[in-house]
């Protein structure tokens, strides 16, 4: 099976607490998975999600807090709106909309987070590599 590149964009609060706790407990995570930690998923915009695909991701998962837990207020809602909009662009580009996943976690849900990452990895591996990859180097430094 083709090796797929997976990217997680993770809110620094609840989901990162789960991720951290999973690491402390030495729980196994998919190996082809990279994580970017951001202060809040509300920081992420459509461009940054698209950029992940431009740079070669085969799947992107946004790890967000539960709606009511956001430390700043609208984070998960912003994330949700961006996902809806980017999915339409991904559809136009023929990048399966399922390649963009959004999940919410409370701070104590390390098992759920790890399970979600494995499920994400399995789904992406089943879909294979993303057909829409730029044919050559993107932007310079």
């Amino acid at each position: 099976m083709a090796r797929v590149n997976l990217l997680g964009i993770c809110c620094s609060w609840s989901p990162f607490a789960c991720y951290n706790a999973a690491g402390m407990a030495r729980m196994e995570l998919p190996s082809n998975f990279d994580l970017i930690r951001v202060m809040c998923i509300g920081r992420i915009n459509q461009a940054l999600i698209l950029r992940a695909f431009e740079y070669g991701a085969d799947g992107v998962i946004l790890l967000e807090c539960q709606d009511e837990d956001c430390r700043y207020g609208p984070g998960p809602e912003v994330g949700h709106n961006n996902v809806q909009r980017v999915r339409k662009l991904l559809h136009l580009l023929g990048i399966g909309q399922k390649r963009l996943v959004e999940k919410n976690f409370a701070a104590n849900e390390r098992e759920e987070l790890v399970a979600a990452l494995w499920e994400f990895a399995r789904d992406m591996e089943a879909m294979g590599t993303n057909p829409a990859k730029p044919s050559q180097e993107r932007e310079g430094p």
């Binding site: 459509q46 461009a47 698209l50 909009r85 136009l92 580009l93 829409a132 050559q136």
Partner: protein, 398 residues
């Protein structure tokens, strides 16, 4: 960058920069400078020739220009300023990486680069309903450009660029032309080209050309002036033996109307017209849109203070450097449009429509700049009829 770098010397020579008289006419007409930006085309020209070691200044300035071509219009020495900027950007992007602050964090450039994928399988034709007649192959194609993507991305400012593509096809259908619309058409690459990404631009050109060839296309009709500029002026440089005929939709209409049999239903509106830079200054088409508007009975065209050759830019180009100075350019432009007492602002470029609509929506101005804005294709499709009378092919302009 060194004074004797042969690539710089070549650009200076090819773009006639050494003919610069330092008269300052470019700076005095540059919309970016006039709105207060610390940027001077004259100074950039001078620095490059006399002080090329001031790299920081030169590099910053090169990314500031809107490439609107106003300065070239005024330059008494024939300096090809926007092509000079294009060459410098291509050179700098190749050596130092792409710069220029990308609007919307570069989302548009990302999708344009994603389209260079050879295995792309787009779903870009969902908007073509049964009311439009299109073909999968044939001699004549219509190029839709990024309209389906803009339609999604700019839905939040309620700008309907897809209506331009729909109405363009309606107009072609009205003339009994059934255009090919490609399922794997790519972005024309205009914005990548003008922001220095020559490599990806050329890939898009080749892919589009191959798609056209595979569909048996010999003539491509274009409505967007940026696509027109790329397909007619830049694609032939990239494709050896380029043999497609590129036709502006408005010129095709103008020709057909001259044959007789077509007319327009009255539109009792006072309208003004924004000349897009790629259509006007860069392709020399000032008269055709005005002629077509003048054929609509009861329509009054009220020109803005700066129109035709001196039309002011819509404030942004290639989706880089949208900033408060862009905004000022747009606000001033909309004030000019308002001053004509027009009820409708007509343009011929989807980008003008996007940028000006965005500025109109500034909440602090409380709607004082708002003006209905439509593309020329929208207006024409709303009014065209066979001279014996037949229903227009599109919705009437608001």
């Amino acid at each position: 960058m060194k004074l004797d770098d042969p690539r710089i010397k070549r650009i200076i020579r090819e773009r006639s920069l050494s003919f610069c008289l330092e008269c300052g006419k470019c700076s005095a007409s540059c919309p970016r400078m006039l709105t207060g930006k610390e940027y001077s085309p004259r100074l950039l020209a001078q620095k490059l020739i006399t002080e090329p070691e001031d790299e920081a200044f030169i590099e910053n300035s090169v990314w500031e220009c809107l490439t609107c071509g106003m300065c070239e219009e005024r330059c008494p020495s024939g300096v090809a300023y926007s092509r000079f900027i294009l060459d410098m950007r291509t050179l700098l992007a190749g050596t130092k990486g792409l710069k220029g602050y990308r609007s919307h964090d570069g989302a548009l450039h990302s999708w344009m680069r994603l389209m260079t994928s050879p295995d792309l399988e787009q779903n870009r034709l969902d908007w073509i309903g049964p009311e439009l007649r299109v073909a999968g192959s044939g001699p004549l194609a219509f190029f839709t450009g990024c309209a389906p993507y803009f339609d999604v991305f700019f839905s939040w400012i309620e700008v309907d660029t897809l209506s331009i593509a729909r109405d363009s096809i309606r107009l072609l259908n009205f003339l009994d032309l059934v255009p090919v619309v490609l399922g794997e058409e790519r972005c024309c690459g205009h914005d990548l080209l003008w922001t220095g990404d020559r490599e990806n631009f050329e890939t898009l050109c080749r892919q589009n050309y191959e798609e056209f060839k595979a569909a048996g296309v010999r003539e491509v009709v274009v409505s967007c002036p940026e696509c027109y500029q790329v397909l007619s002026q830049f694609m032939p440089q990239v494709i050896p033996g380029f043999d497609l005929k590129i036709t502006l939709l408005m010129e095709l209409l103008d020709r057909e109307i001259r044959k007789g049999g077509l007319s327009f239903q009255p539109l009792p509106r006072r309208v003004t017209y924004q000349d897009p830079c790629r259509l006007g200054r860069m392709s020399g088409r000032y008269q055709v849109p005005r002629t077509l508007l003048s054929l609509i009975p009861e329509l009054t065209l009220a020109e803005m203070e700066n129109s035709g050759r001196s039309a002011v830019c819509c404030g942004n180009n290639g989706f880089i450097n949208c900033d408060l100075y862009s905004k000022r350019i747009q606000v001033e432009r909309l004030k000019e449009a308002k001053a004509t007492r027009a009820e409708l602002l007509v343009t011929a470029c989807p980008k003008c429509m996007i940028h000006l609509t965005c500025a109109m929506r500034d909440p602090l101005r409380q709607g004082s700049l708002a003006l209905p804005i439509r593309d020329l294709a929208n207006v024409l499709a709303g009014q065209i009829e066979w001279s014996g009378g037949e229903a227009p092919v599109g919705p009437r302009p608001r």
